[in-house]
Symmetry: C2
Subunit: 486 residues, 2 copies
């Protein structure tokens, strides 16, 4: 269907052959015939060494075009192997907002290397953007754009645009400021070109301007683009001076970022900015275990509710059938049943964290179906560590509850068996839920079903039944004697 689905593999092979054969001019031609994004994607499939070699064969301005499309680890490798002079030349060709995007993801030694090799002017610009709070308009704005003056004529404006066209972002409207850099209007490129040369800019511009401040939250920035159907948005500082613009193509990434954040939060995952495979296991453990812990501890409420009702149901007056302490009926109704809500809740939450992450990553193409084994391996490690945290917390939780319930006298093997049953079951179901949560969306996609639709309901059903079965099976082992003996 689409022109660039077949090409990438082929393109990658072509590039590799040209590098191996050292055909420099052919390589340059090939690169010029394709989109930088495609070239970067094709090159990314090569060994890092070969990428470096390929880039050495290309001119700096071409490398700069490709560079921003590489993943952060390749960018890091390139900056690492480049000399100071090369870094300087490369970054001179890249727009400041892209540099900021890159630097935000890099380790500090790389950031230092880049800043050391930037011109004082661009270092100032980079730092001015870096200083804005994350997710504010200031942190995502561009500072390279052409400003027009109210006092100019159309002809003067066109000259300035022509002069600056290589160094500014390609946009179709320009902002007009007065001598004090106060925003006065906006003017379309077409309007400017079709106007009489001597017309004053102030007569051509539209004075209705939508703007936000550097401190405005990026969510609000998105709203402006949506509401007014605009292509660029001017950014003012607190003194109402024009300091930057945001272009619509940058906003697209922000929209997806915000949606991902919302999706993750609703599944009880603390937001992480990076793509699935870019997020370390430990970071994932942290972002997931906070809510799992909170939810497990909150489940105590349901556990108590069940306990209370079990007592009421068991307190019949005749005494004939009254449940004796430590009998098997007592164990089932007073110890195990109240824990059902804790085990199935934790399993369900853990599973839906994983499936939510994978569903979103699949829809953003951060994860492909072929990454199946990598996902399983990552989920396994995350689950093993998260399990340790949860089980430890649960141990303390259980001991505390029993200590209160049995007025400090928790020295009954049945209580410890019950704690052991829940602990072991919780660890096992956590691992199983996370593996199934990672597996189901990929499986759904593989058989061409919608991962979002398939994963959630199937997951709940499977994980619920499985966790219950595991819990009661382990209970059987610990309480076998009581079941036999009565």
């Amino acid at each position: 269907m689409d022109h660039n689905i077949i090409n990438i593999e082929e393109l990658s092979n072509k590039i590799e052959t040209l590098i191996d054969d050292n055909k420099v001019s052919h390589l340059r031609e090939l690169v010029e015939d394709h989109y930088p994004a495609d070239i970067a994607e094709a090159m990314s499939k090569l060994e890092e060494k070969k990428i470096i070699v390929a880039l050495r064969l290309l001119s700096t301005d071409v490398v700069a075009e490709i560079f921003t499309y590489f993943d952060y680890d390749i960018q890091e490798e390139i900056i690492n192997t480049y000399s100071s002079q090369q870094v300087k030349e490369l970054f001179e060709e890249i727009f400041t907002d892209d540099i900021v995007d890159i630097l935000e993801e890099m380790p500090s030694n790389i950031v230092k290397k880049v800043l050391r090799n930037s011109s004082p002017e661009s270092r100032l610009q980079i730092n001015s953007i870096l200083k804005y709070e994350e997710q504010s308009a200031g942190s995502i704005m561009s500072v390279e754009y052409t400003k027009l003056r109210t006092t100019w004529t159309a002809k003067q404006a066109i000259e300035v645009i022509k002069e600056q066209r290589e160094e500014t972002e390609e946009i179709s409207s320009f902002y007009v400021v007065d001598g004090l850099n106060n925003l006065k209007g906006i003017i379309e490129l077409k309007t400017l070109f079709f106007a009489k040369p001597e017309t004053s800019i102030s007569n051509l511009m539209d004075e209705r301007i939508v703007y936000v401040y550097t401190s405005t939250d990026q969510e609000h920035v998105i709203e402006q683009f949506k509401k007014y159907d605009i292509i660029t948005l001017p950014i003012l500082n607190s003194q109402n001076k024009l300091v930057g613009i945001i272009t619509v193509d940058d906003v697209i990434d922000v929209i997806e970022e915000e949606a991902t954040e919302d999706i993750h939060k609703m599944a009880g995952i603390s937001p992480t900015e990076d793509a699935y495979f870019k997020t370390s296991v430990w970071k994932m453990v942290r972002s997931r275990s906070v809510w799992l812990l909170f939810l497990m501890i909150s489940a105590t409420l349901s556990q108590i509710v069940i306990s209370v009702f079990m007592k009421i149901y068991n307190s019949n007056s005749t005494g004939e059938q009254q449940v004796e302490q430590w009998s098997i009926s007592y164990i089932v109704t007073m110890l195990l049943t109240p824990l059902l809500t804790v085990i199935s809740g934790t399993a369900g939450n853990a599973g839906s964290q994983s499936s939510t992450m994978i569903v979103r990553a699949l829809s953003l193409r951060e994860v492909e179906t072929k990454d199946f084994a990598r996902v399983m391996w990552k989920e396994l490690r995350v689950a093993s560590l998260t399990g340790l945290i949860l089980v430890s917390a649960n141990f303390i939780r259980m001991v505390s509850i029993y200590a209160v319930e049995y007025k400090g006298d928790i020295n009954h093997p049945e209580l410890w068996y019950s704690i052991a049953t829940l602990s072991i079951a919780m660890y096992l179901t956590l691992i199983i839920s996370k593996l199934i949560g990672g597996l189901l969306p990929i499986l759904a996609k593989k058989i061409k079903l919608d991962p979002a639709v398939m994963a959630a309901p199937l997951l709940t059903t499977i994980v619920d039944a499985l966790s219950t079965a595991i819990f009661f099976s382990i209970g059987l082992i610990f309480f076998w004697q009581q079941i036999q003996g009565g």
Copy 2:
């Protein structure tokens, strides 16, 4: 902070005063000084009659600018009250892709009225877009754009652009085709203007073009915009001819639509396209009950697992403590406990459907905190109807399970009490969960907490404990005699 937060109310009052005083020229001035989106928002706050009066005072091209920003119900009202001639004039000023957007939401009598009053040419265009499958590139493309020819000079191209500038979408790059309408290249407006007038277009254009087909899924369209950082994307038909373009501002709506779809699906809500308050109660009942039904029926699996284990635990060999049929111990372990997973699962799912919808609607500003009462009223009606469906299905489910379990002999009051307990508890918890699910995100937003973070975990905790308590309380009423009698 932002220029347009205070204005809307004020603007609305100003407009109302000008209408009441019949100050036509002042109204026209006011409208021209503001963005169409703001004017539409301000007017929307007035009575429908006043909106119609206001629009009659404005010229058709101004009305056309505002018109697309109104909600569908206001648009419908306007078309209804307009004469055929007025409709014709109005829609001549609106871009075809916007007309299609509007028509897709309108009842068929309105669609007929509009199509009847369109020129044959634009009727053809509208129908050509309407025929494409929903969510395909064809269904969201624009057909009004300027095409350039490979054989033209820069001067000729500029003349054509100047001529067509009023009727085509404002874009900064143009597509170049050959005599057979095959896409040959893309050219920037700037390149064109700064080129020597006699240069041939084929020498100026960039032959690297990203394109998709009319049948391409909109998700793939989004990917192209993200990957290549482009502002427009050309659309080809199956014969590889250029038939339309998609501009980046239209893609923003599509991105949010796709994210909303994913979010809803993950919460077990069949996707509906409309905003929260635009979706009818009955449509919501349908979009939610499908998955609630599926999940409730799937919960049978967990119910069986618990039943099986309860039997094993109760089957101790000595017989001394063996649970007698229809005793209170039997009722608790064999009848009520296996239903725990069904009641808390259904309550949780129903609640998270509501909270997910409200969280998303809040973040897209479709719902504001002041809509609190409206949300509660809507959720109450949705829950009442959904409850009827679920409880009926559950009745059949329970009778079937007991019929199998008790080999057709279900004529024991205890079994019917158990069915009644679950049915009543399910109806009550469904309503309560949906109300809490709608309430929590709004409450969170009101006290300036993040609705997405606060709603999910709190909801689970509250709904779980509440549904369990309601279930066992109702059970107490039905089984009081057995508890007392033993």
